[in-house]
């Protein structure tokens, strides 16, 4: 009895002793970065570039571990449930981490169960219309929807995705109704518009070659600033909508991380943002840097959850 009590005491002392020193020396061993997507995809490649760059500033390797599933939520959910908040396990936080709890329910609470470290980047979304539709700009689209109720069809890469939510919010703001046709990938959306099966489509910039071939025309872009790849295409703000949709993604650890460790990781990622390989990856996959430090990101998530619940409920996407 005595010895086991003693042993426990020693163990507690041992486990506490290095804890104080941890924040100073962090990191002393490799860090695991959970990527909730299959290896080899656009987001995976971009994160690997980011992790490589950040590890140079931390002096320890960052090991990317792919844990795909649940629309990108399995990685974060698993980390929230089982990882220690010591900074050695972090995960990419895609937009679905916030949306799934509202739409389907989840095992974690996005506000309470993570320590947010930094927001990194966002995606470029845009809307376009088929050449045959004769809709040459966004005003035409709204006009058409007004005079032909329910006939303005657009292809989205999935129900509840950012392009879908963006289109519906714009329609609501303009007092018209669009008909969404959910496809499964960006490519299918492009094809539907190129073949004039739907009048419009909303996804990323992958349709650019089709636009150059004259099969479709971009009518707006959803980032805060105009995009260099789409010269002359207006942003939503320029069109009079108070919206920016870019599906921001960042990095977080389990709840209860030491603020000093958070600061070290945040600083390393901040420096990594200037890395050339990472910047090239962002540009190649049509993402834009969207830096938020730990404090800003944490506040952003809390506000975002409120706003997102409101939009999703309005669109009938929230879980009843």
């Amino acid at each position: 009895m005595l010895s086991s009590k003693l042993l426990r005491g020693v163990l507690v002392a041992l486990s506490l002793a290095p804890a104080a020193a941890v924040a100073q020396d962090f990191p002393t061993r490799p860090i695991t970065f959970i990527v909730p997507w299959a290896a080899g995809g656009a987001t995976d490649i971009t994160i690997r570039a980011l992790a490589d760059a950040a590890s140079k500033h931390l002096g320890q390797p960052i090991v990317v571990e792919n844990k795909a599933g649940g629309g990108g939520t399995v990685g974060g959910a698993t980390m929230a449930a089982s990882a220690k908040p010591d900074g050695y396990t972090i995960a990419q936080i895609p937009i679905s981490i916030f949306r799934y709890p509202i739409m389907q329910g989840a095992t974690y609470d996005p506000v309470k169960d993570f320590t947010y470290i930094a927001n990194i980047a966002g995606y470029v979304f845009a809307a376009y219309c088929s050449a045959e539709s004769k809709l040459g700009n966004w005003k035409d689209v709204i006009e058409y929807a007004k005079t032909n109720p329910g006939k303005l069809t657009y292809a989205s890469p999935g129900h509840g995705t950012s392009p879908n939510i963006g289109m519906e919010l714009m329609a609501a703001a303009s007092g018209v109704k669009f008909t969404e046709v959910p496809f499964k990938s960006t490519n299918e959306v492009n094809l539907a518009v190129a073949g004039n099966h739907t009048l419009c489509g909303a996804t990323g910039l992958d349709a650019k070659p089709l636009a150059e071939a004259g099969r479709l025309k971009f009518v707006n872009v959803w980032t805060a600033e105009p995009n260099a790849k789409l010269p002359g295409v207006p942003t939503l703000k320029q069109l009079g909508y108070p919206y920016v949709f870019d599906s921001p993604w960042g990095v977080a650890g389990p709840k209860g991380m030491d603020p000093k460790v958070v600061a070290k990781l945040q600083d390393a990622f901040k420096k990594a943002m200037d890395d050339k390989t990472f910047k090239d990856a962002l540009d190649k996959y049509d993402m834009i840097p969207n830096w938020m430090d730990a404090a800003t990101y944490t506040k952003f998530v809390a506000d975002y959850m409120v706003a997102e619940r409101e939009s999703l409920t309005k669109l009938g996407l929230a879980k009843k």
Partner: protein, 503 residues
Amino acid sequence: METLNLVAQGFGVALQPINLLHCFIGVFIGTLVGVLPGIGPVSAMSLLLPVTLAGTPESGIIMMAGIYYGAMYGGSTTSILVNIPGEAASVVTCIDGHQMAKQGRAGPALGISALGSFIAGTFAIILLMLIAPRLAEIAIAFGPAEYFSLMVLGLVMLTFLTQGSMAKALLMACLGLVLGLVGLDSINAQPRLTFGSIHFIDGIGIVPLVMGLFGVAEVLYNTEQSLKREVVSANISNMFPNKDDWKRSAGPIGRGTVLGFFLGVLPGGGAVVSTFASYALEKRLSSYPERFGKGVIEGVAGPEAANNAAAGGAFIPLMTLGIPPNVVMALLLGAFIIHGLQPGPLMIAQNPKLFWGIIASMYIGNLMLLVLNLPLIGMWVRLLKLPYNVLFPLILLFTIIGVYASGNNVFDIYVMIFFGITGYFMRKFGFEPAPLVLAFVLGPLLENNLRKALILSQGDLATFLQRPISAACLIIAVGLLLSPMLPTIRKKREVVALDSEAS
């Protein structure tokens, strides 16, 4: 002229050392699994799918394709020498091929099957090259309604052409449909049949499903049979068929190629059916049908040409429409998607290097296969003597590693084991896994396109009949469904089915 230019570009891609290496690995593994009874191209491809992630999409897909058509070559070796089909498409080759081997003519039998395969394979690639880009241009006119009707036709054809009981095939297809429903509803994004588990949100993975049903089940099933192996290895010194052999084989190879290619293009057709069809055709055309089954070279040349041509034809619906016509192509579709590529009408235009690179690699792969299968035949024969108590545990080990590696997800291993055991019982009771897997892949696509078509037509079902391509597909499908009620066709279908059971 432009095509030639593109082909040249394709060879530029295929001849890069790294792609040449992948092509060689692919056809080598293909021959290997073709030779080894028990595992076929499907198990091998699902096993190696995660491996391809390390390289470029070109090299990965070149390798996967190589496994497929490589297995078509290798399968015949085992059929001829051991009388066990190395893989399903070589069942027919056993009939006359093994008889020839017993008569001391193993050499010419192996020779004609390799050369016939080469001729048919090359011809199929030329057709693929000429047809696919044209078709892709037309395919942009395919909207949700057309896709829906085309897939209805495919599923009907699948059950129609499948061997054995149609009721069992339909039952398997239904099971596949239900399994395909698991996960987020593609229109509403609401979870279905997930039982509240996060593991099912993305649906059941095709890799663990296929590896379970084909890989694990195959091993379990084979351990129970005592395979009697009498390897005929006496006289395979002279591989080249003589003048008379050639004269008798030319027709069967030509007919087998055309038949195989078009059955390969059709959804649900594929390599296996084409071999039976070719054998039946040659027997009917022959002036001495009674000698079939006793070692005639036509019975080897025709089916072997057919299965290789079918392997080429099967690429057309995948590359141009993104619809896999058989299980192997469904896996290849998975490989494309893992690499962030969506096969469909845009792929050839957007990724000409990839498409033409794959085509060019198939020419090269076919040449490699000729070398692998003619001079190196002795090596494969020796491999056939490897004891199964070494081989089978190894295969099981690889499937488990492979499934885990494909998603870093332990849950996938449980899924695979579950379907392995299910597949074992299915095989025991005569249920084919292929309709299940195809329905699993096509089902969600079918539902998705049906609902999209109805959203676009604002709920009007007439849209499927108003659009000509869609209407034509549906009419053919109805015709096929009704045809078993006509006595003459039913008889023919039963004959084909019986043939396959007899061997």
